[in-house]
Symmetry: C2
Subunit: 522 residues, 2 copies
C-alpha cells in the first residue's frame, strides 16, 4: 500500500468533509420537458454520454434526488443514448416537471438518492420484527413525499397483509395524519362505509339523504374505484360535482346536514391514494390495509359514529363467514383503539345490487329508487333502508325496531329525494345520467335456473368495457339468482364508450363461460 498519494482523514473530521463531498457527486443539468406522461411516476432522463454520469454512479433505474430553487424530488432515472437530449440537459416526465414546478431551461441539481432508511423497517417486518407507530410514521412520510419506488410500495403493501392488530392500529393513525383533519362543531358525526366487492352497491347515495333529512350530520367522503368498476365517488360524479374544497364541503354540510363528495378532493389520508395505485395495479386487497385505509379516512374526516356494511358472498370481497368474523373483529378493535364508535353489519353478498354496474348505470338505479319509480331495483332500496334504519336506531334516538319504518317514511314521502336534490345543488348542480348508445345485449341459449353470478367476473367485464374511467361503460344486469331463464333471454347488456372497449369486454366474457352459471332446477 502506497500511503504517499492518499489523503489522510479520521473519524472526527465528519463536519469538515461531510458537506463538500456531496457536491462532487452532483450533476447540474438544464431541465427539458419531454412530454412523457408517466402518471404518478417521477422519472428523469439523462444522456448515457453525460461526462459526470460514470463518476456519480448514475445508471438506468438509479433513484436520484433532483433539486431546483424551490423543490426537491426523488425520481427514477433512465439513460438515453439518442439525440432526444442535448449534452447538459435532463429530461423530465410530466409528473416530475409539475412537482418540481420547473421554469423553462432552469438548472437542476441531480444527486444519488440516499438509501431510504424507512424501507429498512419494512425489511425488518418481513423478517419478523414488528413495526412501531414511529416506524410507520416515517414510512408514511416517505411515501407521501414520493420517496418510495413502485417496487418498494408493492413490497410494503404485500407486507401489510401480515400486520398485527397493533400495527394496523398504528397504520390507521399514521395514515390519518398525512393530510387534512376535519373538525366539526356538531355531534355526533355519523358515517357509513361498505367494504365493497359487490358491484352496483350504491346505498350511500340513498342513505345520506335519508339521514340528513332526518336531521343527523353525515359529511360523507367516498372513494373512487380501487379494483371495482365504480366507487361511490365515481357514481356520484355522474350526477353532481364531487371534487369539493374543504371550505365548500363545510358549506354544503352546514346547509344540508350531509354531502357525498370524493375524499381525495379534501385530501384526507392522501397516502392512501398512493397505496391504492399499486393495489389497483396488483388487483390486491389486504384486510389490514383495508381497515387502516377506511378508518384513517374516518378519523381524518372527524367522524365519531361509523356503520360498516360488510356484504358476504362467495365472490364478494368478504367471501366466508370466518373471514367476516376476522374482519369484523379487526374493524371493532382498531375502531376502539382510535376512538371511534363502530357498528359492523353483515349483509348478503351473493349477487350484485341493483341492475347497473358502472358509474352511469348505477346513478340511474339510485335516482329511480329516490324517485320511487316502479322499475327501481328493490334490493338496492331495501338494503339502503336497512342501513339507514340501523343508524337511526343506534345513533339517531329512534326506538329499537322503529328505524326501518322511519327510514322508509323519509324515502317514500319524497323527503329523501328533496334532500338529495338539495345536496347536489349545494355541491354545484345536478345532472341527469345519460346511457351510451354503444352497447350489446348478451342472451343465453340455455333454458334453466340461474345458479351463480360471479361478482368478480361481472366486475371485470364492466372494467374491461371502460368503467370507471369511461363513466357510461358498464354492465346492465337482468339475471338474478334463483330465477328461471328461457333460451334467447337477455342476461345483461354491456355498455361502452368505444367499440374497441365493447369488443374487448365481450371477448373476455366469451372466454370465461363461468360468469353466469345456468343449470337444472333443483
Amino acid at each position: 500500500m502506497d500511503k504517499s498519494d492518499t489523503l489522510s482523514s479520521s473519524l472526527h473530521e465528519t463536519d469538515n468533509l461531510g458537506t463538500p463531498l456531496v457536491s462532487i457527486s452532483a450533476l447540474t443539468l438544464k431541465a427539458r420537458e419531454l412530454h412523457i406522461d408517466t402518471r404518478k411516476h417521477l422519472m428523469a432522463f439523462i444522456r448515457g454520454d453525460c461526462p459526470l454520469c460514470k463518476s456519480a454512479g448514475f445508471r438506468s433505474e438509479t433513484r436520484v434526488n433532483i433539486t431546483n430553487k424551490t423543490h426537491s424530488i426523488i425520481a427514477t432515472l433512465m439513460v438515453l443514448d439518442s439525440p432526444l437530449l442535448k449534452t447538459g440537459e435532463i429530461g423530465l416526465s410530466n409528473s416530475a416537471w409539475e412537482k418540481l414546478d420547473v421554469q423553462k431551461e432552469e438548472n437542476l441539481i441531480v444527486t444519488l438518492a440516499e438509501p431510504l432508511d424507512s424501507f429498512g423497517y419494512v425489511r425488518g417486518k418481513l423478517h419478523g420484527k414488528n413495526l412501531t407507530e414511529a416506524n410507520l410514521k416515517t414510512i408514511m412520510t416517505d411515501i407521501l413525499e414520493e420517496r418510495y419506488s413502485d417496487i418498494q410500495l408493492s413490497s410494503f403493501i404485500t407486507a401489510c397483509i401480515n400486520f398485527t392488530q397493533d400495527e394496523t392500529i398504528a397504520l390507521a393513525k399514521t395514515m390519518s395524519e398525512t393530510g387534512h383533519q376535519l373538525k366539526w362543531l356538531q355531534h355526533p358525526i355519523v358515517d357509513k362505509h361498505c367494504v365493497g366487492g359487490l358491484p352496483g352497491n350504491r346505498t350511500t347515495m340513498i342513505v345520506v339523504p335519508i339521514l340528513a333529512a332526518f336531521g343527523l350530520t353525515i359529511p360523507k367522503t367516498s372513494s373512487r374505484a380501487i379494483t371495482s368498476p365504480s366507487g361511490t365517488a365515481d357514481t356520484m360524479d355522474v350526477i353532481a360535482p364531487v371534487d369539493l374544497s374543504i371550505e365548500s364541503m363545510k358549506g354544503v354540510v352546514e346547509k344540508e346536514g350531509g354531502c357525498i363528495i370524493w375524499g381525495g378532493s379534501v385530501d384526507l389520508s392522501p397516502v392512501d391514494d398512493v397505496l391504492v395505485q399499486i393495489e389497483r395495479a396488483l388487483d390486491l386487497d389486504s384486510m389490514n390495509q383495508l381497515v387502516a385505509s377506511v378508518l384513517s379516512k374516518k378519523i381524518a374526516a372527524g367522524s365519531t359514529h361509523v356503520l360498516i356494511d360488510m356484504p358476504i358472498g362467495p365472490t364478494a370481497k368478504v367471501r366466508f363467514q370466518n373471514e367476516a368474523h376476522v374482519l369484523k373483529d379487526l374493524f371493532l378493535k382498531v375502531g376502539e383503539a382510535v376512538g371511534l364508535q363502530l357498528q359492523v353489519v353483515e349483509t348478503d353478498g351473493n349477487q350484485p345490487v341493483g341492475r347497473g354496474i358502472g358509474p352511469v348505470l348505477e346513478a340511474r338505479d339510485v335516482l329511480s329508487v329516490l324517485r320511487g319509480k316502479k322499475e327501481a331495483p328493490q334490493d338496492l332500496k331495501e338494503r339502503s333502508l336497512f342501513l339507514a334504519g340501523n343508524i337511526l336506531e343506534c345513533w339517531g334516538g329512534v326506538a329499537a325496531g322503529k328505524g326501518l319504518g322511519e327510514a322508509q317514511k323519509i324515502l317514500e314521502t319524497g323527503l329523501a329525494l328533496k334532500k338529495f336534490e338539495a345536496i347536489c345543488k349545494a355541491q354545484g348542480g345536478m345532472r341527469e345520467p345519460r346511457l351510451s348508445p354503444i352497447k350489446q345485449v348478451v342472451t343465453t341459449n340455455q333454458k334453466g335456473m340461474i345458479l351463480d353470478i360471479d361478482n368478480r367476473l361481472i366486475s371485470r367485464i364492466a372494467k374491461l368495457a371502460g368503467a370507471p374511467d369511461s363513466p357510461a361503460a358498464g354492465v346492465d344486469l337482468y339475471a338474478s339468482l334463483r330465477t328461471p331463464v328461457e333460451k334467447g333471454q337477455p342476461l345483461f347488456t354491456i355498455y361502452a364508450e368505444s367499440p374497441g372497449e365493447l369488443n374487448y369486454a365481450l371477448n373476455y366474457f366469451y372466454n370465461h363461460q363461468n360468469v353466469i352459471l345456468i343449470g337444472e332446477k333443483d
Copy 2:
C-alpha cells in the same frame, strides 16, 4: 331497453365472435428505436393522440402485448404528447427492441395484455391459500417470459417470505426447470455454496482447485453479487473469463475436473436472475427464496453432493443461532426432497474474511493464498482448508480427521495453484488483478480495542464506491476484531474507479460512525 340497435349474441357463439374481436382492439404501428436503456424493463412509447388509443383503452402504464412476425412480448406502455414519435409509430426501449428482434420500420401489432391468471395464485397465497407445484410452474413460466411487471415481481418476492416448506421445495424444483439442466457422466458431482453476507469470503476459488487437484469433479457455477459488493463470479471475472457456454464449460471440467464460472452464462435457473434484479433493488433477502435459488441452481447444474457454508454473525446474512437452525433445517429438508446429498456447516460470521472487499481486492487475496504469500490472509486460507477438508472426508473417501491435512498438503505443495492456473487457462486465460490508483485511507483518532465491525455497513461503503460494477472499487480492511489500534492508525482504504464514487462512499462513512466500533479494552 331498445333492442333494435343491438347485436344479439349468445353463449354458443364463442368461436364465431372470439377471433375477430381481438383485432378490433389491436393497433398496428411502425417500430421506432428510441435508444432508451431501461435495462431489463420492456417498455413501449406511443403518442397520446394516436386515434385508436382511446378505443383500445391504452394509457400510461397499461401492460400491452406487442407482436411482430417472429416474437411476442408484454411491455409497459408510456404515453407521449411530444413530437418524439410520428403518427403511426411506436417507440421501444432497447430491451424491447432486442427481445422482439425488430427489423427497422417493421409493423408491430399492439393489444392489451390479458389479465395475468398466474398472479391470481400469488393473490391467493397472500390470502392464505398455499401454492401448488403446478401453480408455481405457471408463475415461473410467466416470469421467465417477462409477463410479470416489476410490482408484481416485488409482490411475489415479498410473498415468498411466508412460503411453507412444501412451497419452497416446489419453488426450487420449478425454478430449476426454467433453463438448461446439465447432465454429467462422472459421479459424484460435488458442489459448495456459501449463503453469504460475509464480505470478502471467496473460499470457492481456493476450494475448487484443491478438490479438483485431489480428483473430485466440481463444475462450480457461481453467482454475481445480489446485494453484496461482489459475488464469486464477479471476483473470478477479474482473473479469468467466467461467461462460458455449456460446451466450453463441459470442456473445462472434462480436462481439469473443475471450473469456476458464472451461472448466468450457462442459463441455469434463469428465472432467478429476474427475481434477483428486484431483490437487489429492494435490498431484500428471503430465506425461502434463498434456499430455492441456491438449490434450483444445484439441481440444474447436475450436482449430487453439496456442502452449504453458513457463516453466522450479528451482521452476516444469518445473524442468530435460531435463524441458522431454521435455515439449516430448510436446506436439509428441501435438499432431501429434491434428491440432493446435503451437508450444512456453520462458520464464524463475525467479521469480513480476508482483507479485500470488492472484485479486484478479493482476487488479490485469493491469489496470495494460492501462491503461499506470507501476507496472505490466514482466515481466508483456514476457512478454505476447513471446507475442502470437510468435503474430502464426506465425499472424497478421506478418513475422518484427515481431510484438513490432505487439503493443506494440496494447497501448500502448490498443486492447488497449478490446478487454479490450469482452470483459468482452460476458461480462456489468466489475468493479474490491478488495484485502482483512486483511493483514500481512513484512519482512526481513537486509541483502543476494535469491538465491532459492521459487515453490512462495510459492504455498503464498498458498493457506494462502485463495487461490483466497477471491479477495482471496494474496501481494503486492516482492522480486525479484538485487536488494539493506536490513534492515527489506518482502519481501511476505500478504492474507487472515479473520484465521485470515492467521495460518495466516504461521505456515507462519515455519516455512519458505527461502521467500526472502537472502545476500551475490557
